[in-house]
């Protein structure tokens, strides 16, 4: 298992277009990927748009992404990079 934390940079947070982009990116990997707030227990399937939306993560919040599987490192690093680029907003 491989895990990293990061902070949401873009203004609208993880919903609407950024959320769609996030899950589209997550789906490219074979690993099981989970996402949640760093300070909360609850982690959800990062490939599910509905679960991601239900978290309602906004700008400035800290999130943890962890993956398990053959491409876990690449998966986590790519998703963190996407968040850190602020979804090019």
């Amino acid at each position: 298992m491989y895990q990293k934390t990061t902070v949401i940079k873009n203004r609208t947070g993880l919903h609407a277009r950024p959320a769609s982009e996030f899950i589209a990116c997550a789906k490219k990997f074979k690993s099981n990927i989970l996402i949640g707030r760093t300070n909360e227990e609850e982690k959800v399937n990062a490939k599910s748009i509905v679960l991601l939306l239900s978290l309602g993560i906004g700008q400035g919040e800290s999130v943890a992404i962890c993956a398990e599987g053959e491409d876990e490192v690449e998966a986590v690093d790519t998703l963190v990079a996407l968040i850190e680029a602020g979804f090019n907003e």
């Binding site: 609208t12 947070g13 919903h15 769609s20 599910s48 748009i49 509905v50 239900s54």
Partner: protein, 571 residues
């Protein structure tokens, strides 16, 4: 058979009914028989594939990237791993029928998102609802009766039209509209009036009529005739032709110069709401754009419009009007509307809240982006900038300071813009109307927004149907207040325009002219009738009407007086 109705948009339409009844699922718990689940799973798969095919078809047809993104998000939801897993589980382990399973799982997530603390997430609930409905409709094998794919001209019969219904509507295929509910300011009404489509509101219409029924929609007399006889059809066909001729006669007035019988010239200008080609066509026969609303640029998208996007649009409008002035109103929006890209908080009283200029002051980056775009565009025509929702002289000074700062930035960057730009405000809050003598020192022009002035003066929420009776456009207080403002602007010899509903209403427009207003700005559909009015009236007539109104004490008295007096003058 004849039914009574209420005319919302005038005219006569004769043709076949297109019954538009969005599919509704009746939720009833259903169990599968023993060993039936493989077929249930298959039916679920088929419904999902069909729904996906529909969505992909819509995406392909849409040219607008922003809109296509919405339907792409629907595909994401339709193929959501978690939802899919739970539906399958509900069918195989729970033994429920696939439609009940779909319904339950979607409802679960709809409730979950509804509870979210973030307004933007709560708005996604409508996307889940849409996907759920589409999937269940596909499951029931009910075709998507899409208003965008009408083959022959029809009379659309429906409960009420939603903006999503009319997004793809081909207006040339719509002879008439019959709805079950429709207030004068509903979406259906606005669409019908702006396209000149007759609209009749008939209770229970979707139950009374069948798809394919032959009907006559008489939105002049307020009647709906079903299965008419041959001679009845002929009778109404003549009525329809008369109406068309009458309208064409009125249309000729579009092209005349609006001058009163004594030679007093009135400027008739255009209100622009979306700068579509249909609206901009009005530039050919009006004296400018008295109100160029910019809200539409911010609606239905996840990101605010960029400086360049705004600049290109403003420039296009300015070029269309050439020498004639275009009055650009800066963003006028608040918590009564959901604007995805602005994250507006829900407020108890959005009309008294953080809206328009107040919102712009708190979002300086967004405000300046709009001002920069407007200033850059000003190099291409005759631009005037107008600030909405002004309550005090402080507001005016603060807005002007923003504009000055933006101008200095552009100068530093050596970006050209027009010098001597005219700056004005909307007069729509009673307090600022009463300060007209001070306002006139601060601005180059002003425009009276009568809809909001009415709402704020009479303390009536104009969106609230419970108090719609209290929204009195002809309340004498309004004419008194407009009179005060008009006097101050005349004294200072500065232009004053009226751009609300009253400007496009012949009864009120006559009084406005009498009060000294020389600029009226209105929607394209009112231009012809207001020009006709101006040409049949002298300044003295108008002033007499205005004096008459000042002596009356109720809205009803004003309306009756104007109807009688104006008829005498124009006949």
């Amino acid at each position: 058979m004849k039914y009574k109705g209420i005319s919302i948009s005038q005219g006569v339409a004769i043709g076949k009914v297109f019954l538009y009844r969005p599919y509704t699922f009746k939720p009833v718990e259903k169990k599968l028989g023993l060993g039936e689940y493989p077929e249930a799973l298959q039916r679920y798969e088929t419904a999902r594939r069909n729904a996906r095919a529909e969505l992909e078809g819509i995406c392909q047809k849409l040219k607008d990237q922003e809109k296509a993104a919405i339907f792409n998000a629907h595909i994401d939801i339709l193929y959501d791993e978690t939802i899919d897993e739970e539906i399958r589980d509900c069918i195989t382990t729970g033994g429920y029928r696939e439609d009940w399973a779909i319904y339950c799982v979607f409802e679960k997530y709809i409730h979950l998102l509804e509870k979210g603390k973030d307004q933007l997430i709560r708005e996604r609930v409508t996307d889940l609802q849409d996907v759920k409905n589409r999937l269940l409709r596909c499951h029931a094998g009910v075709p998507d009766r899409d208003l965008g794919r009408l083959e022959h001209p029809v009379v659309i019969v429906t409960h009420d039209l939603m903006p999503s219904d009319t997004a793809n509507l081909d207006q040339s295929k719509v002879l008439g509209l019959v709805t079950e509910i429709a207030g004068p300011t509903s979406h259906s009404a606005i669409i019908a009036r702006s396209y000149g489509i007759p609209l009749l509101c008939v209770e229970g219409a979707t139950e009374l009529l069948e798809h394919g029924d032959f009907v006559i929609v008489d939105a002049l007399a307020g009647e709906l005739v079903v299965h008419p006889e041959k001679n009845t059809i002929d009778l109404y066909e003549r009525k329809r032709m008369d109406w068309v001729a009458q309208r064409e006669d009125l249309e000729r007035y579009r092209w005349v110069r609006p001058v009163c019988t004594d030679g007093t010239g009135i400027k008739v200008e255009l209100n622009l709401g979306s700068a579509t080609p249909g609206e901009l066509e009005g530039a050919n026969y009006t004296d400018g754009a008295g109100l160029f609303r910019t809200e539409f640029l911010y609606m239905g998208r996840s990101q605010p419009p960029s400086e360049d996007e705004q600049y290109e649009l403003y420039k296009k409008v300015l070029l269309q009007f050439g020498e004639r002035p275009v009055t650009l109103r800066t963003l006028d929006i608040g918590g009564d509307k959901t604007v995805e890209c602005l994250k507006l908080p829900k407020e108890q009283n959005p009309f008294l809240g953080k809206r328009a200029l107040r919102l712009c002051f708190e979002e300086p980056k967004m405000f300046k982006t709009q001002l920069r775009a407007a200033l850059r565009a000003s190099a291409h025509g005759n631009l005037r900038i107008m600030f909405p929702m002004v309550a005090s002289i402080d507001d005016i000074r603060k807005a002007k300071a923003f504009l000055r700062e933006t101008q200095e930035e552009l100068i530093a960057e050596q970006i050209p813009f027009a010098t001597g730009l005219k700056i004005g405000i909307m007069i729509e809050i009673p307090a600022i109307a009463m300060m007209a003598d001070c306002v006139v020192q601060e601005v180059d022009f002003a425009s009276i927004g009568t809809n909001d002035l009415t709402q704020y003066s009479l303390a009536v929420d104009r969106m609230n149907p419970l108090v719609s009776g209290y929204y009195q456009s002809y309340h004498p207080a309004l004419f008194r207040m407009i009179g005060i403002v008009a006097r101050e602007f005349q004294k200072a010899n500065k232009p004053l325009c009226v751009c609300g509903e009253l400007a496009g209403d012949p009864l009120a427009a006559a009084v406005l002219i009498g009060l000294g207003i020389r600029e009226l700005s209105m929607g394209i559909s009112s231009v012809a009738r207001i020009k006709k009015l101006i040409c049949s009236l002298s300044r003295e007539d108008a002033e007499k009407l205005a004096r008459g109104v000042q002596e009356l004490s109720t809205a009803e008295e004003v309306e009756n007086y104007l109807k009688t007096a104006l008829k005498k003058i124009t006949d």
